[in-house]
């Protein structure tokens, strides 16, 4: 199988097919095994973070530097010419002359798509407001594939804020490429939006809905947790009454199977207790570290260096 991804921009999960996703996963595995060495030597990547980020930005920087490439850019809009009133289009056109590929995060939705309108360079969307963050999904799927070679037939729990989390929405679309069964676990106020369950119905992906992970924990191969933001609730008392159903601590672990892996996009606040970190099922730091080889492989493919 040969998939051409050279010069492609990765803005949204809808830009990528299952074949491309699997191709990326395969190459990311090879990158992680050290097959490609300093393949980004002589390449300059721009990292334009109009909105601050810790993990994603550092992970991209580490990815480029570890593959021998150079990275230029800024870490907040305040240190870019946006502050002087420059349009996004002009910033991108200018920066295009300085580099080979652009990684960008912006608080405005659609900013990365706009950037891809005005340049021929590949753009990687590292998050545009509440819209998309495709590389997070790629590293999530990569981490799952490392633990279970095949996702077909697996039971995957998605827990927490299923209403607003862009991570969950993107991941759900990618998981729908596989024959998985999804378990949506959330308080009613943060339930998965109907447009997503309609989508799953249309493509015949099976799912179940729960209010507490303890009711289905033993069935799960993966439990993917996200943070529930207190401010999403009108009534703080309501938050306090439900929060406990979405916190994994040592006691909560007993409701999971011996082989239920626990994932989280990080940062966590209190939804996974620190005491859980030592458990062999807790793989969220491993997951975050996988951002490096996955992003390296993606950059390599988009630049046509990795075939």
């Amino acid at each position: 199988m040969s998939v051409k991804m050279k010069n492609k921009s990765i803005i949204s999960l809808k830009d990528i097919s299952k074949d491309e996703l699997m191709y990326l996963m395969k190459r990311a595995k090879e990158v992680k095994e050290g097959k490609y060495g300093n393949f980004l030597e002589g390449k300059i990547i721009s990292s334009l973070f109009f909105e601050p980020s810790t993990r994603t930005r550092l992970s991209f920087h580490s990815a480029v530097k570890r593959a021998g490439g150079d990275i230029i850019g800024f870490a907040s809009a305040g240190s870019s010419s946006t502050k002087k009133g420059e349009s996004l289009g002009d910033t991108i056109k200018t920066v295009s002359g300085y580099c080979d590929l652009i990684v960008m995060r912006h608080h405005v939705e659609g900013a990365a798509r706009r950037a891809s309108d005005v340049t021929d360079l590949p753009i990687i969307n590292a998050g545009d407001g509440a819209n998309q963050h495709p590389t997070q999904t790629f590293l999530d799927i990569f981490t799952m594939l490392e633990k279970k070679e095949n996702l077909d037939g697996l039971n995957i729990g998605l827990m927490g804020d299923l209403k607003y989390s862009r991570t969950i929405h993107s991941l759900l679309v990618a998981l729908s490429f596989f024959g998985v069964r999804l378990y949506f676990i959330s308080p009613e106020a943060l339930a998965i939006p109907e447009r997503y369950t309609d989508y799953l119905d249309d493509i015949n992906v099976e799912y179940e809905v729960y209010k507490d992970f303890k009711e289905c924990g033993k069935d799960l191969d993966f439990l993917y947790c996200t943070r529930i933001q207190k401010e999403r609730f009108y009534d703080p008392v309501e938050y306090e009454s439900v929060a406990g159903s979405y916190i994994i601590d040592k006691e909560g672990l007993s409701y999971l199977d011996e082989e239920t892996y626990i994932m989280h996009p990080l940062p966590r606040v209190d939804e996974i207790a620190v005491e859980v970190d030592e458990d062999q099922r807790a793989i969220y730091f491993e997951q975050a570290h996988n951002g490096v080889p996955v992003r390296q492989a993606l950059i390599g493919l988009l630049l046509g260096i990795i075939k």
Binding site: S12, K14, V108, G110, R113, N131, R195
Partner: protein
Amino acid sequence: MGKKKERPYKVFKIEKGTVIDHIPAPKGLLVLEVLGKKNDGIVSIGLNFDSQKVGKKDLIKFENKIIDKEETDKIALIAPEATINIIENGEVVEKRSIDVPQEITGFLNCLNPNCVVNRENLQPHFEVVEEGPVKLRCKYCERVWEVKYDMVENKRK
């Protein structure tokens, strides 16, 4: 029960122009807003007629104006059930077929205030993702919208 009897009605007859009929009520005003009221001749609009086809319907007649492809596309987005007849010398010379376009640029604006279209004053661009009722996905922020009055009102001049 027999068919509900339709009341006869009279709308200004035109010798030349366009008749847009079977617009499901209350979308008539929205269609008019989208097409614009400026016209060489009389523009007549009838609201809330009984219709066997669509229940309650609205009707618009543009005297002297033959609507073009772009305008037909606009109607298709709002009222794909409508029928469009082109009139010359008091006779119907063309029954214009309505096809929902796959993409649309320009006349509808994205309602997401945090969309780059609104933040950077760009030309809006939508893909049609569903046809009945029409749902549009903004090319940029990827939000999906049903066509609403607000989207037209916000259009840039």
